[in-house]
Amino acid sequence: MEKSKTLEKIVGKFSEAVIDLHSQLGYDTVIIAKSALLEVARFLKQDPELQYNYLMDLTAVDYWKRTPRFEMVYHFLSLKNKYRVRVKVPVGGAEPEVDSLTSLWPAANWYEREVYDMFGIKFKGHPDLRRILMYPEFEGHPLRKDYPIQKRQPRVGPK
């Protein structure tokens, strides 16, 4: 398989952190270790050739019963090259935590709050990590696969 320039560069620079990569359905995807996330993101943003200046989307997927359980999914876009790349980071453990990208993109602020709200993944270095769509008294994280869809909770307002 021929690798795109982005994948080649990431593999060249972070060969130890790269777990896997593929270009399924024409979308470059790289799976990296949690510890290298901030560095890879900074590299993608600041590399003069790549210039991934957009953090287009940030979300998580709960692969229940798999270890590590969660996977953070970042979609970057380079306006200059009109090219997209997807970076995935497996996160696990009882208290899942990854580095926050708020220092690089202010856009990460609300996205990460949403992921925290829906999945309970914490972000190291996030300035204002609180629930965004649900109310503060809500218990549990609704997009986790072990949160039953029929579960009801009392709607309580701020005290």
């Binding site: 399924q24 359905l25 979308y27 995807t29 200046n53 957009y54 953090l55 287009m56 989307d57 979300t59 997927v61 709960d62 999914v73 979609h75 306006l79 009109k82 997209r84 997807r86 993109w105 202010p106 856009a107 602020n109 609300w110 996205y111 829906m118 629930r131 965004i132 769509l133 649900m134 109310y135 609704p142 997009l143 949160y147 869809i149």
Partner: protein, 434 residues
């Protein structure tokens, strides 16, 4: 002073709350509270089949539901590698652009109304009504359309659509001209909009903002041009960009985008292909599934010739239109309706596609597909585990990053400026809170 604005305030079209810290009339800090319309869209999508997600997507951006429909369908099609027919692509483009006009009309009309220009709102809504009638004649509904299907659309365009569409566009153009005359050089409107709610290009990129809001700052990014989907690369249209990134530029960008949408629709209507018409109810051309039927059960060929009248709501999904609007793929192929009504094989085929536990099964994998929604890039990220239900559906709503930046945009402006700035965001709570 600390002031709570919203969630139920007449000038807030949409339920959000702004905690504003004021110094006299000047906003010093604004904290935006969202989530009042959270309906667990993503969670619900995981519990139903792929086709059952469409009604939920109608309710994301309810000012332009067709674009959401097509975006979700495009993501699943990407996952399955489906090729959709050319005519279907054209239909999707036409309907998307009509939706874009209705969305922008709503936004401009509502913002103008909030600044006191109530007649503009009435004019805009009048034009939107004509377009809604057009949408209704195609989809059967005005708002909860659910018109897209995986691998196509529900039905072909109705008879006489092209003429009616041309006439409506002509009338819409006149309304746009009226709106333009009423607003663009209106002293009050200009003073309230110009130089208010400014965002720099760098900030807009850092916040991940797309759509008219980004283009008003002078950055030319439009998914239709940058990553052409459906068949947008065939059409000539311009991307209007602003300069200052203020409310007035956003208004101008939206106005011009509507003209460009009309341009796209007119080109599409002129060149829309009629598509393969190799199938008629007489069965002159035999397609693969019919051939299999004939081989196994010779008697069914007689049944096929029975004239079956289908319900008015299903018009356009008969066999003679079927090949134009549906992908020829066994995995996602819903048989034509008169066959479902008249022979058992087609009925079984239909049930195999729609029944829980059977259904459409994209292969394992993931896909992110973006379309240009009315507010910006509308992305769908779908993870499939190979079953008939999506493992994860993520919708990237275009107004989410704008709302994230709103707290910063409002700072330094006056309290009264919150209203036009918030209006120009065109926040749609349905897609913001999902």
């Amino acid at each position: 002073m600390f002031l709570n604005i919203g969630p139920a305030h007449p000038a807030m079209h949409g339920v959000i709350q702004i905690h504003a810290e004021l110094d006299g009339e000047i906003v010093r800090k604004a904290d935006i509270e969202i989530g009042y319309l959270h309906r667990a869209f993503e969670k619900h999508c995981e519990t139903g089949t792929y086709s059952q997600c469409f009604p939920y997507t109608d309710r994301l951006n309810y000012a332009s539901p067709l674009i959401n429909n097509f975006g979700f369908a495009a993501a699943v099609e990407k996952l399955m590698g489906l090729e959709i027919p050319e005519r279907c692509n054209y239909i999707r483009i036409i309907m998307s652009e009509i939706s874009r006009i209705t969305d922008h009309l709503t936004c401009i009309g509502a913002s103008a109304m909030e600044l006191g220009a109530f007649s503009v709102f009435l004019y805009a809504i009048k034009a939107r009504e004509w377009l809604y009638e057009l949408i209704e004649s195609v989809t059967g509904a005005r708002l909860t359309v659910s018109y897209a299907r995986i691998g196509g659309v529900k039905a072909d365009l109705p008879e006489g659509f092209e003429e009616r569409c041309q006439a409506t566009l002509q009338k819409t153009r006149e309304v746009l001209k009226e709106v333009d005359q009423l607003l663009t050089r209106n002293r009050i409107f200009y003073d309230r909009m110009c130089g208010v709610g400014i965002i720099s290009a760098d900030d807009a990129v850092d916040y991940g903002i797309t759509g008219p809001f980004l283009r008003s700052t002078g950055i030319e990014y439009d998914v239709r041009k940058a990553f052409p989907y459906f068949l947008y690369e065939r059409f000539a249209f311009d991307i209007p960009i602003g300069e200052h990134g203020d409310n007035y530029d956003r208004y101008l960008v939206r106005m011009e985008e509507m003209y460009q949408s009309i341009r796209i629709i007119e080109q599409a209507l002129d060149t829309i292909p009629q598509g393969p018409t190799n199938v008629d109810s007489e069965g002159n051309v035999i397609d693969p599934d019919l051939m299999a039927d004939l081989g196994k059960f010779g008697k069914t060929s007689g049944l096929l010739k029975n004239e079956v009248l289908i319900q008015p709501t299903l018009q356009g999904s008969e066999k003679r239109y079927h090949d134009r609007v549906r992908a020829k793929s066994k995995e996602a192929w819903l048989p034509p309706k008169e066959q479902v009504y008249s022979n058992i094989e087609a009925l079984m085929n239909h049930f195999k596609i729609v029944m829980l536990g059977h259904g459409i099964r994209p292969p394992k994998g993931e896909a992110y597909v973006a379309v240009e929604g009315a507010n910006g890039e509308l992305g769908f990220y779908i993870v499939s585990d190979g079953t008939d239900r999506p493992w994860r559906v993520r919708c990237h709503p275009p107004c989410f990053p704008i709302m994230a930046a709103l707290g910063k945009i409002l700072v330094g402006d006056q309290v009264a400026d919150i209203v036009p700035t918030f209006g120009s965001v065109n926040m749609i709570a349905g897609e913001l809170d999902r």
